[in-house]
Point group: C2
Chain length 147, copies 2
């Protein structure tokens, strides 16, 4: 199967201009064109664009994704480098997930805080609770927020 830029953009839920931008930035060096210069997208292009999307979601920048694409273009001799790259992305993702969990802890604390304030009619109540008055799992979080 082949697709025009508009069709591929729809499949990926991005704007056609985004795909042109990626091409201009060197992310799509394998792109084929018709005799009249119109881009022809293939199923293999869909797959690599999904991977580009994934790498972006790990926090990688376009210029670094371009380096990955360069590795892909080198074929089998860059397998090791590509494996190492994905291992690094995995480590980076694990850090992001831990950070997000820390943020979730704070948000959960604030939900408890405002629920308690709501019942009491004033934030003074949760504000003035001593450490042993608050739920076990809120103590460390409040301590971290106050430092």
């Amino acid at each position: 199967m082949t697709y025009t830029i508009g069709e591929m953009a729809k499949l990926l839920d991005v704007a056609p201009s985004t795909l042109r931008y990626y091409d201009k930035e060197g992310l799509l060096p394998f792109m084929e064109r018709t005799e009249n210069g119109i881009r022809i997208f293939k199923d293999s292009d869909y797959e690599i664009l999904k991977i580009i999307h994934c790498l972006k979601a790990t926090g990688m920048q376009i210029k670094d994704i371009k380096e990955f694409i360069n590795l892909v273009m080198q074929g089998d001799k860059s397998i090791d480098a590509r494996l190492e790259l994905f291992k690094k992305r995995k480590a980076e993702l694990e850090k992001q997930m831990a950070d997000l969990q820390g943020t979730m802890d704070t948000v959960n604390f604030k939900c408890w805080y405002y629920e308690t304030a709501k019942k009491a009619g004033t934030t003074a109540v949760p504000d003035n609770m001593s450490d042993d008055e608050l739920p076990e799992d809120m103590r460390k979080i409040r301590a971290r927020l106050r430092n």
Copy 2:
């Protein structure tokens, strides 16, 4: 305890210019100053800056964080609105964590893919594996990437 902008910036691990920028954007309407115009940061400011950082980490924009600060300045009458705001941030975070897990699934697939390619010396091996040759937990992920 009180702090200068430089001391507070160090505590929060941000640049002093960042705190000035937040102030200019209306995130710190409670800021006090010396007679000579120098900002005086208090422990309560540290706490609210931690919350600002948390809200940013949930993906909230500066102008929306400013609205939250406006609610805080209104006192107890905005408790409900603030509770709802944090509940929304929690829902948003849950979506982000699910998305991140999806990204992690793809990265894990690619780690498996390149480990398999490395052992074989060529990506042709994982590329040509039939569905029942790949590990159980890789099947759905590859299907999603190929669509």
